[in-house]
């Protein structure tokens, strides 16, 4: 779902270095995950983490044992995201999750007794509006932090405004990391979505083992899909796999015919899809009509899409830092409360859980900084905070200020429910050359 640019011509040496580093750093994790895979698939995944944690349900209580009302001066927190336009559906879910966290925190004592006052702004997936709204949040509402963002262009726009005003930005969507010249390393950027070494790196070995190593790529024609293909190709060098062909279509394509010709000739094991929004729906529809049987792997598949369009989503494999099928007490409670607010058949998605987690991580850091909302006080505390999130225990890596998350590989079933096939715990984000601590 992320978009970004590359305004420098890529240096192949740089890319290779990144690729090697990616594999090196995650190599150990794969081994463990692969060995544990059958066990993990069989039992629930909420193995207790030994690090100290603030906990999602760590409720502040008053002396008589009932949850305390937050009564102090409110702490203003901004939400900014794509609430109208082509990504409105995802943006809405992201906002729902954000609001759920704010509600929970305010009902259980706030942040050190102070309630959170949420200020919501829409970017309409428009850079100029993102600039305008970020400026408003910073200068008029005087929020202390901003959470949200889907497209990379909106992230970049927000990052041109907020750091100047010394306002940290929690970006909650999976994206291309530093791969495409995007801003991935900034002292005022905190990312709670995944970057390629957390999303693609755990997935490829799984696919090698269970599906195959010959890929055919179809994506939208912009930098996120292209960046993801680059990362994939680098990983496949180590795996001994290959990408036989890559086809990119402009956003808003209605006929993917040319790709199906390629597909028929390619004899590939895996169809790697990096199409977004309605393009993915259109593609899956035509894929089914075409009668293709190659395994689809889509990085932008989620529970919401799968549940809305089960007949075309069936069989698609994805990897996310959150899937509704995670079996843990935290997730059950999260789903319950989310649905109580938003309807019985609704699904939170990864970028929403990222927003939810962001609010709690912020809370943890401010409390660890003795209630100071000055970012120079609480940002250094972030790496010491561990949060027992719906997707398991997560934290913030001190060097990159990106989240250390679990990665879940899942497959859409006939009923539109994504079944979790495999997972990898606590994957550390890698942003080449980024040392913020």
């Amino acid at each position: 779902m992320s978009k970004s640019n590359n305004n420098s011509i890529e240096d192949p040496r740089e890319s290779n270095k990144l690729g090697r580093r990616l594999v090196l750093k995650t190599g150990l994790g794969f081994g463990a995950a692969a060995a544990l895979a059958p066990v993990l698939a069989a039992c629930s995944s909420d193995a207790a983490d030994e690090t100290s944690n603030t906990g999602s349900n760590d409720t502040a209580t008053s002396p008589d044992g009932t949850p305390a009302e937050a009564t102090g001066d409110p702490i203003k927190v901004g939400y900014i995201g794509d609430l109208t336009g082509v990504l409105a559906q995802q943006g809405q879910i992201q906002l729902n999750c954000f609001e759920l966290a704010v509600k929970q925190i305010n009902e259980s004592g706030g942040i050190g007794g102070r309630p959170i006052e949420a200020v919501t702004e829409d970017t309409a997936s428009d850079s100029a509006q993102a600039i305008e709204k970020s400026t408003k949040l910073a200068l008029e509402d005087e929020v202390v932090t901003v959470i949200g963002g889907i497209t990379s262009s909106v992230r970049e726009a927000a990052l041109t405004v907020l750091p100047n005003e010394k306002i940290p930005f929690f970006y909650t969507t999976f994206y291309e990391g530093a791969a495409a010249g995007a801003t991935a390393c900034d002292e005022y950027l905190i990312a709670t979505g995944q970057i390629p070494n957390q999303q693609v790196a755990p997935l490829v070995p799984y696919l090698s083992e269970n599906v195959g190593k010959k890929y055919i790529v179809v994506g939208n024609d912009y930098i996120w899909p292209r960046g993801m293909t680059e990362v994939l190709e680098e990983l496949l060098v180590e795996e001994g796999g290959e990408v036989v062909s890559s086809t990119y279509f402009p956003l808003g394509t209605t006929d993917f015919g040319p790709f199906f010709k390629e597909l028929a000739d390619a004899d590939a094991d895996i169809c790697w899809v990096t199409l977004v929004g309605s393009d993915q729906d259109t593609f899956l529809q035509q894929y089914k009509q075409f009668g293709a049987t190659t395994q689809i792997v889509s990085l932008s598949m989620n529970d919401d899409i799968a549940a809305t369009n089960p007949e075309i989503s069936e069989g698609v494999i994805t990897v996310q830092n959150y899937l509704a099928g995670i079996e843990s007490g935290n997730n059950t409670k999260f789903l319950e409360e989310y649905r109580a607010e938003n309807g019985a058949d609704t699904f939170p998605i990864a970028i929403g859980e990222g927003a939810y987690n962001s609010v709690y991580l912020f809370k943890g850091a401010v409390e660890a900084a003795d209630g100071s909302t000055d970012p120079t006080d609480w940002i250094p505390k972030l790496s010491g905070v561990s949060f027992d999130s719906p997707s398991g225990s997560i934290g913030i890596d001190a060097d990159t200020q990106h989240a250390i998350t679990n990665s879940y590989i899942g497959k859409v079933g006939a009923d539109g429910v994504i079944e979790i096939l495999d997972e990898e715990k606590a994957v550390v984000p890698v942003v080449e050359g980024c040392i913020l601590s």
Binding site: K3, S4, N5, N6, N7, S8, I9, L83, T84, A88, Q92, L95, T120, E121, D122, A124, S125, D126, S127, A128, Q129, I131, E132, K133, T135, K136, A138, L139, E140, S152, S153, E156, A157, L159, T160, V161, A182, T183, D221, Y222, I223, P250
Partner: protein, 346 residues
């Protein structure tokens, strides 16, 4: 009987009246600019930035008013020239250590030059009205695609961020437009220049001939006017203004992005001009301010459904005031005046 050439001269009574109305316009404009100059002392920091953006947007609205209102040719390409100015500014501003004047000049010359060439082929090729609109729409789509595809220069989908502010050297000293107030005054500076140009066009015979062409191009050409040349000039001037607006906007917003060079922005600009009244210079300004402020306020209160409200407002205004807010007001004034005259007669 010999043929005699006739030459018209304006008669004195008319020129005196013109002079008075000219002085009134000048006075009103001066007051407006003076009010805008002291406005920042009454505004909070965010509204100063918003004001700076609205000033830059007003310039692009003025540029469309010139072409659409005065010359009768509706362009969907206004955002293309706005975006070209923005990207010219952002690319030169982020990559090179250039004199601010050169950067600003590039934001003017590149869009104007493009419009000159495009306009030449369109207008001399007898492309007018709906066909002209369609071609300009295609042009903005192409410009958008170029910006997205040419990643190494334009930053592709994300655009160019952290664009530096403008510093203009004046002889021995420099005027720095990078601070928050500085950005506002950059907006005000280009707004003043654009307003002056627009007023000049309105009062000039160039502007009058454009209006004549809008009414009946054939008639104008049978009077000997080279109408394609006039339209090409109007298009070029309009693109120059739009380009400067884009350059200033990039400087004010520290950004040049693909959505500053797309059809949606073109349509937005069109709605500003339509709401205000396309036949009125003041219409472009009123429309821009009303729509930008409305956009900003409603999207704050209703972040999930604001486009609906803004769209509804647009429809209602166009339904009840087809000539725009300023046009409606002018009509009302005229009706009241004629009623007064009738009463006086009775």
């Amino acid at each position: 009987m010999t043929a005699v050439d006739t030459v018209a001269v304006p008669n004195n009574a008319n020129s005196a009246r013109d002079w008075i109305s000219g002085a009134r316009t000048l006075g009103g404009t001066g007051l407006l600019l003076a009010a805008l100059a002291i406005l920042p002392s009454f505004l909070g920091p965010f509204n100063i930035v918003l004001g700076a953006q609205i000033l830059a947007y007003s310039v692009v609205a003025l540029s469309l008013q010139l072409l659409w209102g005065r010359a009768g040719q509706l362009s969907f390409g206004q955002a293309a020239f706005f975006g070209m100015g923005a990207y010219a500014y952002a690319i030169l501003g982020t990559r090179y250590e250039l004199n601010g004047w050169y950067i600003l000049a590039a934001a003017l010359v590149i869009p104007a030059g493009t419009a000159l060439i495009l306009g030449y082929f369109l207008f001399f090729g007898r492309v007018r009205d709906a066909y002209f609109s369609i071609v300009t729409l295609a042009f903005v789509l192409v410009a958008n695609q170029v910006v997205i595809s040419w990643r190494s220069v334009t930053g592709g989908d994300t655009g160019l961020t952290r664009v530096p502010g403008l510093v203009l050297p004046f002889g021995g000293f420099e005027v720095d437009f990078t601070s928050r107030n500085g950005r506002y005054y950059l907006g005000l500076l280009i707004f003043s220049i654009a307003l002056f140009v627009a007023l000049l066009v309105r009062r000039s015979s160039f502007g009058l001939v454009l209006e004549a062409i809008r009414d009946d191009e054939n008639r104008a050409s049978f009077l000997g006017y080279n109408t394609p040349m006039y339209l090409t000039m109007a298009f070029t001037l309009s693109a120059a203004l739009a380009g400067v607006a884009g350059g200033a906007f990039a400087s004010i917003s520290t950004l040049a992005a693909p959505d500053m060079i797309d059809q949606f922005l073109s349509i937005q600009i069109l709605t500003w001009v339509a709401i205000g009244g396309r036949n009125y210079l003041a219409g472009a300004l009123v429309g821009t301010v009303v729509m930008r402020v409305l956009n900003n306020q409603v999207s704050d209160v209703l972040p999930e459904s604001w486009p609906l409200v803004v769209g509804l407002f647009f429809v209602v205004v166009v339904m009840f005031f087809p000539a725009g807010l300023v046009g409606g007001l002018a009509k009302l004034r005229a009706q009241l005046a004629s009623r007064r005259v009738e009463k006086a007669r009775a």
